[in-house]
Assembly symmetry: D2
């Protein structure tokens, strides 16, 4: 079940029909979930901003380092050139390089890329080493390719799937979550979709209610999931250049804050923001030195900022609502969010009836 199934509404803007990152036209998401034996609890999630050859039709992009204690691949080229040229892949901390190798192979062998000799793979990660035998490095290139091949539009599976299989959030079972917002027509009617891989700590708030504090559910050194991280992917069909995409990306951290996240020292919190607007694509091959594209003015950004904040907050909470109790490495067990109890607390606070 998802947050809204319980009547909980986050923010003031409306979600898209799926309330998922796939509400952004053309976006596809795929998972590879690795649950094997007692101790493999990990996986891969791939997000495709469009279904064509992304290397040939690059998309404007930016990455914001919320807290850079992480191993994300691809940062500097996105920063310098302002674009993304591969699918975005999420996995576990020690699987990043394997995922990069898979993305490089995937890109080199796409039709049309026969002479390509340089690929900037973007891969994010969180550390699932409490439930997962992360040192065993079980993610393979095939798993990554599967996630890409599995990618499709429509509803997105949440919780203990893909790169969220073994994650922990606020001391409860985390995972993959998603949400979206659609701006009113007069603000452009654009869609913002967010997908989060949640593996971080703090004092959980659900729709503003201090669930973590009331339950006393936080470590007294405030350090849940010290090697944790939160990866937030923000896609929009609004036509944005990389500068305004970086500003958009920064706002996702404000959404994380609303859930009670504190970006602890050990939490590698990254936001990748991409414009999927067709008119903004950056063709690899082109005849002209000039490109004429429409982009939104600075003054049109505020509604998109709000959409990003709301969708991020809800995506994180959806990951907690979807994730189920899991036992993994060394018999470690992480309980799912006690939804019944949480819903009672929300009822008491008047958030739901």
């Amino acid at each position: 079940s998802r947050l809204r199934d319980h009547g909980i509404e986050i923010g003031v803007l409306k979600p898209g029909p799926l309330n998922a990152i796939t509400d952004v036209p053309g976006v596809q998401v795929g998972h590879s979930t690795l649950k094997k034996g007692d101790s493999v609890r990990t996986g891969v999630t791939a997000i495709l901003p469009h279904s064509s050859n992304i290397f040939q039709q690059k998309v404007p992009a930016a990455i914001y380092l919320g807290n850079g204690f992480g191993k994300l691949a691809g940062y500097s080229q996105v920063k310098e050139l302002g674009n993304l040229e591969t699918p975005i892949v999420l996995t576990n901390t020690l699987g990043v390089a394997t995922a990069v190798n898979a993305l490089v192979g995937y890109t080199l062998f796409l039709p049309g890329n026969e002479t390509v000799r340089s690929v900037n793979a973007v891969v994010g990660e969180t550390n699932d080493g409490y439930l997962n035998d992360i040192r065993g490095r079980h993610v393979t290139e095939k798993d990554v390719n599967n996630a890409i091949e599995n990618a499709e539009g429509g509803q997105v599976e949440e919780g203990n799937v893909g790169a969220g299989t073994g994650t922990i959030c606020f001391g409860f079972k985390g995972g993959i979550g998603t949400s979206s917002r659609v701006l009113p027509k007069k603000s452009g009617g654009y869609t913002v979709g967010v997908l989060a891989q949640t593996n971080f700590g703090g004092m959980l708030k659900v729709a503003g209610v201090d669930v973590g504090k009331q339950m006393g559910h936080y470590s007294d050194n405030f350090k849940y999931a010290t090697d944790g991280s939160c990866m937030m992917i923000v896609l929009t069909d609004a036509p944005l250049d990389s500068r305004n995409l970086e500003r958009l990306a920064k706002r996702a951290m404000l959404g994380l804050a609303r859930t009670g996240g504190i970006a602890s020292n050990g939490s590698g919190d990254y936001v990748i923001a991409v414009s999927t607007a067709e008119e903004c694509r950056i063709p690899y091959k082109n005849d002209s030195a000039l490109q004429t594209v429409p982009t939104l003015r600075n003054s049109a950004m505020t509604p998109l900022f709000l959409a990003t904040i709301e969708a991020t907050e809800e995506a994180i909470l959806n990951s907690l609502f979807a994730a189920e109790t899991m036992t993994g490495r060394n018999g470690h067990k992480i309980e799912a969010l006690p939804k019944k109890k949480v819903l009672e607390m929300l009822k008491a606070a008047g958030k739901i009836r």
Copy 2:
């Protein structure tokens, strides 16, 4: 009245005795409030990290650009050298240069500074041009000097004072607010103090309760106070270098997010973080090329991050609780936060009894 006078507690850490930035030992705050005639509604607030000659005894510092649509002075030198060499001054947008001139004069003529020929004044601002005749540029160097001279420890006046005299926050009267947190002994026992000059928009949340949404009190283009800003000053006696101070500064934005702030396009949101630890002072004159100072490790930062988030949230809310309805330029009137109504909403949500 302040937030805690009503039984409202923010977060899980304890405030210091004054619940103010002045809980950090040695810190002094001073205001110059300019209310004249129908249309002058502005002022100056000065924050002194210590009471000695700051140019001669510089302090480790960092500035984080939450949203850089503002006129803050002094950024690049703090970024490059990692230190602060003047008091921090807050005022209105068009008063920054006058405040810089005042700080330069103040510094040049301090005993011991007779040969100083370079001063990096740090001045922040928000735009009070709705209530204040900002184009009249009424702030004088004398007003700035007065704020510095007025600076003292102890309780800090909040609301419509100093640089907060004419500000607007979430569509209500904003102003100056402050709060503090003291870490548990085992986390080092350090104090973090925050002072905020609040002039920004979004959907107000008080202690997590969606006050703005419930009251329908937000513009439907989400653009309250388009030329607004929020200045957040974070002081701590924890011994920190500029890198970790920048990380600390970033967390203040998470505190702002908890109040419903969205860092709108037009909001210049800046955080200035300073370590007041005596052992970290950077003497202007020194005999050795080496300086040996204790600093906290990365792994000790998390409790300080939490303290910053909580104190920022509460400082912003305190500004709203302290500010009173004001009429200014062209008869413009901004109502104070309807506290009675808000308290009822908090009661209904079970936040207070």
Copy 3:
């Protein structure tokens, strides 16, 4: 006399007709030179990217912090919004705030700006305190206004003028210098113009010849002009967005390096890059949330990078060739570059005949 008057050519690209920043169409430069009595040796230089109301017709811009030990005003807003809304003004370190106040006043009272309440003045500086009584703060708002009013196209006065009146470069008299490059047609035919205010140290190289080393003309602690700085203004009519302008700005530091500059600790080295392309102007008032502008692709940047490097190198050297021996504060005397000797060294090196 200028570098090329002696047959010295820098680089492989051709300068524009004036070999000056004013080769960029529409650009205007104005100076106010303050030489009074024994100890006032300072001034103001204003650079106007175009002659209309810049606040109403903003220009894409970026500022690169080569070494941020300086007091430049206006950084954060340019970084955030990617544009410039005032003339660029250069002056001395302690005159920055006065120049900001002048630019604010200038902007507020331009026809069409009657309701403007926020102005981001961009002001750079170097420290002329060895020759100039900088503590006397002799620059007035009127001096700044004069520089703006004096601004015109055509040849640019170099050497001991305007903001370069009292500067020191490589231990010789520095000042204002300028140069330009025009790209070949097939690379777009764009013009890049640079103006430098030179007040820094290192081991002077002229056209690659180790003049400073051969003359033994460097302090053995490598610290000439410890409170020095180099301001570099890069204007181009190439249509560039702020991201590529920041990349362009970075290259000016490579030009500085070719002159033997080392960006010493005390040298505040800043580069301000602006596109003057008419089709890229950002109107303050606009009806649409979208702006459709042509910009150069990343892959078209390299020739512009080279042009920036070459023009910066030559602008710095031109400042040294134009500056004359000056006596100032406390009888301090700084010799002009001994051009005769330098030319002999260049002859010996086969650089000129």
Copy 4:
């Protein structure tokens, strides 16, 4: 042969005994060179800041993005935490992920690291795809491990070795080059060592002499080696924190500029700077939240900046002097720098006798 074997001296500071990065005490360098058949021309170079377990005894570090069009791994964590926890590895563009996997494996299995679950591998690259069958991805984890195992102090092999096997610089055969500088006692007596992997373009200058221009050896679109890069590793025994290491790293770009490098659009130019000072090590395990370390003040940085600039310039030139003509993929042939001709040009310019 090396630059100084021909009597060419760069700059004013003295090199260390080896004139190599290994003059910095404790530093080790190892190569794996892959030359197989007609088309494998690549390799791996490893630089170890010290010979203990680097994960357990991290070193202060910074990475500067000179031009971020590259695939360097490890940036964000170094930026956030200010330290390095693995050897630095250089290889080709498409080999980065394999090198990361090797470094992760190497680190996980070092004695003492049995419970480590997170490793931030730092790997740089340049694109050797003109001479090397880069799409064949011939670098293996074993090659990387070999480079690490081969690492030793003493003289460093230069030219067509390790990660420099297949690189191209200024249109000539590039490769690995190294150089060092030792500061005078009164400036602290510290050593700065630089190692460069050279694969970039521009107009070659040797000791300031315009070799490239005189030989007409540059493409008329100024785009040699469009997918090139220059990796610069700067190690020093000076006790520096990450902020000053980042400043140091920036200066390496000034050294690159002196060789005629222009940081073209396609050139991924990165600088990794590390302090090897024993007293600055950051132990992974520690009992105290505080660390007391000596670091150099800002004002002591200038001589280190100069040392970095000079050593970088000379390291790049040494790579060109050491590299030999190579034939590789598809019969592509890149000539070595015609040293005889170059030396004649330097003689004519009076640089050597």
